[in-house]
């Protein structure tokens, strides 16, 4: 019987993980091809269906959220507070609190602005906050305030800092955003009542499982990152599963 720390368990997990990574590499390749082939639409000339737009975030009817950790005005946030527990091989991160919230917003370019409903989107962002606190290292002041509001503490045994990790992703007004999503009917405007074409439209998640992708990177950066992800996924996944299979074979002496 394989025990908890048995290398065969890790090799088995690595084998299937590698196969998953191999598959994931192709989904990244598919996304890369889609982004590459899709010309960016000007907001003024958006047509119904899958569109790619790039512009600046503007709040919709002044609706804004307050981010839990950095306490900043935003239209989207996701955050997590994690604590490191255990020791040695059993060291792991436990999520104490996490959340994600969003409101509608406009995306504005030099030709107009279009409403966006971010619900259901895959949000690919650089973290606005990614810090840890540990022995002798306090979290930033804003995070300390947030912990107080949430009735959490970074103090551990004898008042020493616990090892904790704080992450927050934000979309703030005036942020530049790349969106690949479906332009559909704007439910807040009666059909054809909009003065301009884009007023009748809202970018949203498609009803047929279409891709919905939001990123704070521009198209060039996005393609570069997807290129390396897909190459890494396909090649890395194949190498990992082969390596792990070799370990499994060696373990069972099947040479």
């Amino acid at each position: 019987m394989a025990s908890d720390g048995d290398p065969i368990i890790y090799a088995g997990a690595g084998f299937f993980g590698g196969l998953y990574l191999f598959y994931k590499g192709f989904t990244w390749l598919k996304l890369k091809k889609l982004i590459e082939n899709m010309p960016t639409s000007k907001v003024r000339a958006i047509a119904m269906g899958l569109v790619e737009v790039y512009g600046e975030v503007v709040p919709y009817e002044k609706k804004l959220l307050k981010s839990p950790l950095l306490d900043k005005d935003c239209v989207y946030y996701s955050y997590s507070i994690q604590e490191e527990r255990g020791s040695g091989k059993h060291r792991h991160w436990v999520t104490l609190k996490s959340g994600r919230e969003m409101v509608h917003f406009y995306l504005k370019d030099n030709t107009g602005e279009v409403l966006v409903d971010p619900e259901g989107a895959t949000v690919d962002m650089k973290a606005d906050l990614n810090v840890t606190s540990s022995l002798g290292k306090d979290p930033p002041a804003a995070v300390m305030q947030a912990l107080k509001r949430m009735k959490l503490s970074h103090d551990g045994f004898l008042g020493m800092n616990k090892t904790m990790r704080y992450t927050e992703y934000l979309v703030e007004p005036k942020d530049k955003l790349y969106i690949l999503g479906v332009a559909g009917d704007n439910p807040f405007v009666e059909d054809t009542k909009g003065q301009k074409n884009e007023e009748d439209i809202m970018i949203q998640k498609g009803k047929h499982g279409d891709i919905y992708y939001l990123s704070d990177r521009n198209e060039k950066e996005l393609l570069k990152s997807l290129k390396w992800k897909s190459i890494g996924g396909v090649i890395g996944g194949a190498v990992l599963s082969l390596f792990c299979l070799t370990l499994i074979i060696a373990y069972f002496g099947l040479w």
Binding site: K33, S41, T111, L242
Partner: protein, 189 residues
């Protein structure tokens, strides 16, 4: 021995799956690109139709004032009839569109000489609407040409060219600006 066979088998499976996945990705993206071109052309058509629907109203509102600009109004009517008979011919559509854009530009410029017309609220509204459509049209033409350009590059690149040939895909025509529109504008004082 079984181990070596298993490893070779996995290498072959990963290679075949990888190759098939890559070919499917190329095939699907080429089919999507081709359909996107048709969709982009359809989106231009929607706006062209909207613009042509506004024309009878525009001609009615100006003909009382611009009796001396008969040839201009004839050009607009002629462009409209070319568009109606164009069907799916992209070249003819582009020709009608360019002719209409030119005629409308001249009409709006000439309207400056008719103060009574400029004071007509109906005309001003129509002018605003048609100018709005013109701007959207310019963006959609650009979008269409971007789609065509991407498609034309892809079907000539390796390895996409192999699948494109199997599908019988050929280079698509751009929505071109007329020669007149590309000429420098002479400004006389």
């Amino acid at each position: 021995m079984i181990g070596i066979v298993m490893i070779i088998l996995l290498v072959v499976i990963l290679f075949v799956v990888g190759l098939a996945g890559y070919i499917f990705a190329i095939y699907n993206s080429l089919v999507r690109l081709k359909n996107d071109i048709n969709k982009a052309l359809g989106n231009i058509d929607v706006l062209l139709k909207q613009r042509y629907d506004e024309l009878p109203k525009l001609i009615n509102s100006v003909k009382g004032y611009m009796k001396h600009e008969k040839s201009l109004l004839t050009d607009i009517t002629k462009a409209r009839s070319i568009y109606s008979s164009a069907g799916n011919d992209i070249h003819k559509k582009a020709q009608a569109d360019n002719m209409m854009t030119g005629a409308l530009k001249t009409l709006f410029a000439v309207s400056e000489n008719y103060p009574q017309l400029k004071a007509n609220e109906n005309f001003m509204q129509l002018q605003g609407r048609i100018s709005g459509i013109e701007n959207e049209l310019a963006d959609r033409r650009e979008f269409y040409n971007d789609s065509v350009n991407t498609f034309n590059i892809r079907i000539q690149s390796i390895p996409d060219v192999i699948i494109a040939r199997m599908l019988g895909y050929t280079a698509q025509e751009m929505f071109k600006a007329a020669g007149e529109e590309k000429k420098d504008v002479k400004v006389e004082f």
